[in-house]
């Protein structure tokens, strides 16, 4: 029988907490930029302009058809080059920056589809009502459609955020010390990899599961 040795975990907690902060940072940036950019892409897709709508479709299909790990690696290899060409030496950790960019752009493609479906779920009559009052198409979108669409989308957006939170563990491929990376490295160093990964798994589970419980409660509240 395998002998578990949990003794190295308490000592590793400060590092794990630092890693968790990284994880949350990446998650937060990806959510905020992803939703803003996703909204823009969704609007382009629905714009009725042939070129813009095709461009947006290409973006969405492109990112949704490649593995996230690959996107992460690409941006890790590309972003430092780009940054130093544009602004000289960056002051920020280049791995973190490339993770921000990769996640934000990748998530935007998923958010764009959620937001597009949300906008389309609002009835055509609401558009007519906005236009009939003299609002422009832009005003109707901003004041009438988007507020209703976002209200309906909140559960889906949050669910996507939970998936995103878990997916941040993939940044270990570019050697960034977020929660999973710290757990892996510490466990490896101390020879307690199994315990460490079980512990990390438990933490992911508790956070994600409580979050999805919250989403479910919210969903019930919105439905009532």
């Amino acid at each position: 029988m395998y002998e578990f040795d949990w003794s190295s975990i308490p000592g590793a907690l400060p590092f794990l907490w630092q890693g968790m902060q990284r994880t949350l940072e990446i998650t937060a940036v990806a959510i905020v930029v992803g939703i803003v950019l996703g909204t823009v892409i969704a609007l382009l897709r629905l714009s009725g302009n042939w070129a813009l709508s095709n461009l947006a479709t290409f973006y969405v299909n492109g990112f949704r058809s490649v593995p996230l790990v690959m996107v992460l690696l690409w941006f890790y290899l590309l972003v430092p080059q780009l940054i130093s060409n544009l602004m000289g030496q960056p002051s920020m950790d280049i791995r973190l920056l490339s993770a921000f960019v990769a996640f934000a752009l990748f998530e935007a493609s998923y958010y764009a589809e959620i937001i597009r479906a949300g906008i389309q779920s609002v009835s055509r009559g609401q558009v007519s009502a906005g236009l009939a009052l003299g609002m422009t198409k832009g005003q109707t979108m901003r004041l009438i459609l988007l507020p209703q669409a976002f209200r309906r989308m909140i559960p889906l957006l949050l669910t996507q955020a939970i998936i995103l939170f878990q997916d941040t563990s993939l940044v270990y491929v570019i050697g960034l010390a977020e929660f999973f990376g710290v757990a892996y490295n510490t466990g490896n160093r101390d020879g307690t990899l199994v315990e460490m990964l079980l512990f990390a798994g438990a933490v992911y589970f508790v956070i994600s599961f409580s979050a999805s419980m919250l989403v479910r409660a919210l969903q019930a509240k919105l439905a009532s």
Binding site: S123, G125, Q126, S128, A129, L131, A132, L133, G134, M135, T136, Q139, L143, I144, P147, Q148, R151
Partner: protein
Amino acid sequence: MISIRKVSKWYGEFQVLKQCSAEVAGGEVVVVCGPSGSGKSTLIKCVNGLEAFQEGEILINDLSVGARKTNLSELRSRVGMVFQHFELFPHLKVIQNLTIAQCKVLGRKNEEATEKALKLLEMVGLTTHAQKFPAQLSGGQQQRVAIARALAMDPVAMLFDEPTSALDPEMIKEVLDVMVVLAQKGMTMMVVTHEMGFAREVANRVIFMDHGEVVEDRPKTDFFKSPGTDRAQQFLSKILSHGAEQG
């Protein structure tokens, strides 16, 4: 005021409007009726440019609806429209439903818009519901709010697209009463409806449509006394016998 001249519209191969013409003078109430699928709703939506048409011309106070240079938003802000399914904004309170376009389109100050809104809510008898959300109101109340919302823009004319057909019978009267008051105040109105009682009471003229054509356009007394066509005759007898059953 509203001048519809030989308007035709196609959905692909199918022609929904065939050379429709009609005039609504200032202060006039014109009722448009006809069997479902006759194109009456489509025609009224063409008047404020919610539906495009391919041939003909619609003028509102000499402004051409279909013309490229016409600012459609500005034109629509001066023509009120009431929809079959109310289309109140569900995420906004009743009072906000009445003020949002006043503020965002006409650039009125919030206090001014609110004052206007409250006056109109009083007129439709819903002052106490100002702070509620549309979903908390009955269908008849929602439609009255929708009428008030359109009036808040100080429209030169009002378009009604089957304003009572989505309502339960007991709520139809409260909406029609508001419309009658409006008509008596001299509002220019174009009303698509099956409510012949309303037509008899306040309409100046009745337009009968069938298969995308304006079949009759006559003063209401003539229309009800002796419809000029078999089609209108049949339509009327169906509608009236149905009304008798309900009454």
